[in-house]
Amino acid sequence: MELGLISGSVAVFGDHIAADTVLPARHGFLPASEAVLHVLAEAGPDANARARAHPVLIVGEGFGYGTGRESPARALRAAGVRALIGASFARMFYRNAINNGILPIVCGELVRAGIKDGDRVEIDTGAVRWQRRTFPIAAVSPLVQRIVLAGGLIAHGRDVLRGMAAT
């Protein structure tokens, strides 16, 4: 089983957006459907609408730094985000994204290439394409592919537990 192509339009955000900005702690216990209304709302006046309108977010350095709470990643997924392309990710956020079925891709070259809101990208396991250019990325590990493909670690866990019960 391999990760298929993730393709779609992008919304572009800047450097050093904290996980607490993606979803402030005071909204951390909201049901996902309500948390969606607050995703990235503190990152700019139209940031929430932009994040919800595009399946791929282009982010800068250190995206998701600070708190290790998982609610920011849960809320992004509920907002329809399928992939993030960034210069670098805070490591706990990186885990939480994968565990919620969002593919985080490190590709600083694309982030700095002048990509704009509404542009389309295509992501596969070894490259990202934008306009007529191809940007190589580190191969997505089979384990991460399985988790993201399943839709996140809960669904993956269901598969694993079924496998454990069968043996």
Binding site: D20, R26, Y65, S88, L161
Partner: protein, 424 residues
């Protein structure tokens, strides 16, 4: 076999491999796992996976520390559900709210041990590196998966050697060193990496100082930080260990991404200006700036030695009338120790307000919230806008000495002026 770092050895052992390559995604079986109030999300993940039995409950604990005692029905109900789950599944330990901050309690109680792989759903889990554990923060769903299967996935990290030499000048502390490192390296300065502390100065650092440094490796973006086990570690772990462990040292020729050398004698007292953790400046640069609240607490700096430093400065003095000094010992054990040795009484006599042991003001979801435009000088670890519950307030980070001296004067103050007055 390729020579290995501490992190590589611990991950290889818990993965069942001889050795691992860098940037590999593998599954490991951690030696211990703990959680706090956000265990509620782990319980939900566990149940949604269809899991019914917890694997290895003897290596799982919960310590409520974020919203304790609960101040609303939602938190109270969540706590009740966590208590019931821990009892039903036979977790080896459950620490009620008021026991302390989970990272502190787990070390004190001997659940985080040299050479062990420890995970928890909190970004300051790297604190456990103080005793030579590889302690790594993971997500809440990860915790549910781990309870159900005994395993988690990890990406194998590179390590960086932090070589410490020399000794701190009077009035300079481990916190100042970390704020200095953050200024120089930035909040992504150690992204995905494990800091391995080494050099002639580390044997002079107490367990509490190591805790402060390992704790705030999180602000550098590190996966963790680890102090190789030595006599200080052995003295701490002896008589405390809850399970068998074996210390791990790095091989002589292990490969590091890079090496950073710091002479402790070059460090001066630092404060970190509001907004981001890498905005450190020498305390003199910010001196005279008014503060409304001083928070002496958090997993970074609220142990007995931290409270002793503050008590020495506040003895026989009064907190400035324009300042609210909030003291939150890192654990009940710390509270008891400082109650017995008189330091707590000294702080209370000076005008401090004592709150229950826990994350308190630092987590921003409970007490000690600031008003618009106010400034909190804090011994904690984070200072982004809104961290303490109000985006319109500012947070400045510092050592316990700077916190105490500034509580007396009402403005950011170099504590060395107090230490020079011969009462040390």
């Amino acid at each position: 076999m390729r020579p290995q770092t501490i992190a590589e050895k611990i991950l290889a052992r818990t993965c069942g491999a001889q050795q691992l390559t860098r940037d590999e995604f593998v599954e490991v079986q951690p030696d211990f796992c703990y959680s706090h109030d956000y265990a509620i999300f782990a319980i939900e993940a566990f149940e949604r996976m269809g899991a019914t039995a917890v694997t290895r409950p003897g290596r799982i604990a919960v310590c409520l520390d974020h919203a304790v005692p609960a101040d609303n029905a939602r938190d109270a109900n969540n706590h009740a559900r966590i208590r019931a789950f821990a009892r039903k599944h036979g977790f080896v330990a459950f620490f009620e709210g008021g026991s302390g901050i989970s990272h502190q309690v787990m070390l004190e109680q001997g659940y985080v041990l040299p050479g062990s792989l420890v995970v928890a759903n909190d970004s300051h889990t790297p604190s456990g590196g103080a005793v030579g554990a590889l302690a790594v923060g993971i997500g809440e769903t990860d915790i549910g998966f781990l309870w159900a299967t005994g395993r988690i996935w990890v990406k194998t990290p590179e390590s960086v050697r932090i070589v410490l030499s020399g000794t701190f000048a009077a009035g300079v502390y481990a916190k100042d060193l970390m704020l200095h490192m953050l200024r120089d390296m930035g909040i992504t300065g150690a992204q995905y990496q494990v800091l391995e502390f080494t050099g002639p100065a580390i044997r002079t650092l107490t367990m509490s100082e190591r805790f402060t440094l390992a704790n705030m490796s999180a602000e550098l973006g590190a996966k963790s930080a680890v102090f190789p086990a030595d006599e200080v570690t052995d003295a701490f772990a002896r008589g405390r260990a809850q399970y068998a462990y074996a210390s791990v040292l790095a091989d002589a020729d292990a490969q590091y991404r890079n090496e950073i050398t710091i002479d402790l004698g070059d460090i001066e007292p630092m404060v970190t200006l509001p907004g981001r953790e890498d905005r450190g400046v020498p305390v003199g640069t910010a001196a005279g700036r008014p503060v409304n609240q001083v928070f002496l607490g958090s997993c970074t700096n609220a142990r007995a030695d931290d409270l002793a430093i503050a008590a020495r400065i506040l003895r026989g003095k009064r907190v400035h009338p324009g300042v609210r000094l909030i003291v939150v010992p890192a654990s009940r054990q710390v509270m008891l120790q400082t109650a017995r040795n008189g330091d707590l009484a000294t702080l209370i006599e000076a005008g401090a307000t004592l709150m229950p042991s826990g994350c308190a003001v630092c987590a921003g979801a409970h007490q000690g919230v600031l008003a618009d435009g106010e400034v909190c000088l804090s011994t904690s670890n984070r200072n982004m806008a809104g961290r303490m519950g109000n985006k319109k307030a500012e947070i400045v980070l510092c050592s316990p000495a700077t916190a105490a001296a500034s509580a007396v004067t009402g403005v950011i103050t170099d504590a060395r002026a107090f230490l020079d007055k011969g009462d040390s």
